[in-house]
Amino acid sequence: MTSSAVTSAGIASDAPRSDFGRVLEQRERRFAAALLAPAFLALLATTTFPLIFLVYTSTFRMDLAMPFTNGFVGFENYQVLLSDERFWSSLLVSLVYTGSTVAFQVVIGLALALLVMDMKRGQGWFRIIAILPVVLSPAVVGMIWRTFMLAPEFGIIDYLAINAGLGSKNWLGDPTLAMVSVIAIHTWQWTPFAFMVLLASLASLPEDIYEAARLDRASAWQRFRRITLPLLRPAIVMVIIMRTMVALTAFAAIFTVTGGGPGTATEILNLYAYRKSFTELSIGYGSALAVALLIVTIIISGILFAMRRAK
């Protein structure tokens, strides 16, 4: 039957024209419109409308603390932004944070997936434990790390550092250590995600290729390099894309742990836009920062999607 071919392709628009005729086709269109309308109206209201309004407010001076200075300023916010050192520093923090956390997640997640894949027993433990950090609220995770893990002396990480002979550290008060901490926390929470996705992809790879490779006496490294990695590439790139989008707009785990501090040491662009808008109440400029973040997101995802298509 033709329809079975259609089903395996899973694309409804390729379905063969049935005998129901044009009337039914028109009826189908109306039915589709009725089904789609509520969701698309909600999406328009909660995503497209705010985007337009955001761009609009970014051309205003809108200071909730000093409303008498408010007014249309054109592109002034963007001019200010380009010469704003705090903007460039937050952009750099964003890129370092995103780049390092995504790299750690993929490398550790992949290594662990390869390790667990070969385990004959105990895979179940990994599957259960790995789900835990992923389902937690980043705000709660941040709070736990800030207090019970990183507090001086009785925090476990500091306790371990003291026993390792490193001495007690001011994990969240020192700019470098604070950055290391927020990166470690994000990596802790989201590596299991990469691990689970890559483990599932590994499990779906065809076994016979490995058999053939073993018969050809390919070494473990060769098998990894020549078979596993190329076959896993789509999954790896997808994990990179998904995690990058999340890391760029990470908020809660940094907000609760350092609040962007000390100073602006851990202030990613997302957090800067928030602080400008809701702490300093400078909504117009905050909007411009949010637009800048959107542009950065689009550029980076453009690069990543091009990478995916490259092969």
């Binding site: 419109a33 105990g122 835990l132 937690l136 707009t249 907000f255």
Partner: protein, 279 residues
């Protein structure tokens, strides 16, 4: 032979370290929630102590109880899940199964809406909701939660709808069933599993959300993730109580996560392998 054995032991040790690293902060919070403040602050950290439920009693029944906040979290999460599913199921069905012009664009639009950074949504929405007096209301928070829950739910559900064989629908039409009846009687039961997974994901995301909640919450609507901050102030941190609140905030999502573990992994991979590969 010994080299191989050594390797096995090393790998086992590495995997144990990772298991411990992931589980420990959660276990440690649970332990701390059963301590007194002085036991929490003890140096070296106490692994053995006489457990007490005092912290739980205080945060649940004491003054400044977080019960209203837990209730807030439940109302927000359940409300978001119900509204999202009512809109997402029909939309996903249409995108997966029906023929109409602009279908490709509609699918792309759903994906593209996820690009907008949340901070870019909350800034304008804060102004709008303030104008219509919807700050610190459930309808305000649930409305804006649709911005992230809807695209995700639609996109996940589409992948489940696409797995149903076409023959089932055609047989139903031939029997003269209406489209709506077919959807309700034939299709929906087929994707029950997918709907359950989507419900879990939407609930988790709503329960865990923080940025929108921190901007829009007030004295009436304040989910537990925001209320948690009451226990850490510049002057003092209420250690054991904070641990107890953290555990209470983690409890529902951890239970859901462990119960739905297999499906969550499937949902994640549907997203990573299939969902990402579409269009």
């Amino acid at each position: 032979m010994t080299a191989k054995r050594l390797r096995v032991i090393a790998l086992l040790a590495i995997s144990m370290i990772f298991l411990l690293a992931w589980a420990f902060p959660i276990i440690w919070s649970v332990l701390n929630s059963l301590k007194t403040d002085s036991d929490v602050l003890a140096y070296p950290p106490k692994l053995f102590f006489s457990p007490t439920l005092e912290a739980y009693r205080d945060v649940l029944l004491g003054s400044g109880s977080i019960l209203p906040n837990l209730l807030s979290s439940v109302i927000i999460s359940v409300g978001t899940t119900v509204v999202t599913m009512l809109m997402a199921v029909p939309a996903a069905y249409a995108l997966a199964r029906l023929r109409f012009r602009g279908k490709k664009f509609a699918g792309f639009y759903v994906l593209a809406t996820q690009m907008l950074p949340p901070v870019g949504i909350i800034i304008p929405y804060f102004l709008v909701l303030r104008n219509i007096g919807w700050i610190d209301t459930y309808q305000g928070i649930i409305l804006i939660y649709l911005s992230f829950s809807l695209p995700f739910a639609i996109w996940l559900l589409v992948s489940y709808f696409e797995d149903i064989p076409f023959e089932m629908e055609e047989a139903a039409y031939l029997d003269g069933a209406s489209r709506l009846k077919t959807l309700w009687r034939i299709i929906i039961p087929q994707v029950r599993g997918g709907i359950a997974v989507t419900v879990v994901f939407v609930f988790l995301n709503a329960w865990n959300e923080f940025l929108f909640a921190v901007v829009l919450s007030g004295n009436t609507v304040r989910p537990v993730t925001v209320a948690m901050f009451n226990f850490v102030s510049v002057e003092q941190t209420l250690w054991a109580k904070l641990a107890a609140v953290s555990v209470l905030a983690m409890l529902p999502v951890v239970v859901l996560g462990v119960v739905a573990q297999k499906h969550i992994v499937k949902g994640l991979t549907v997203g990573a392998v299939k969902g990402g590969g579409r269009r």
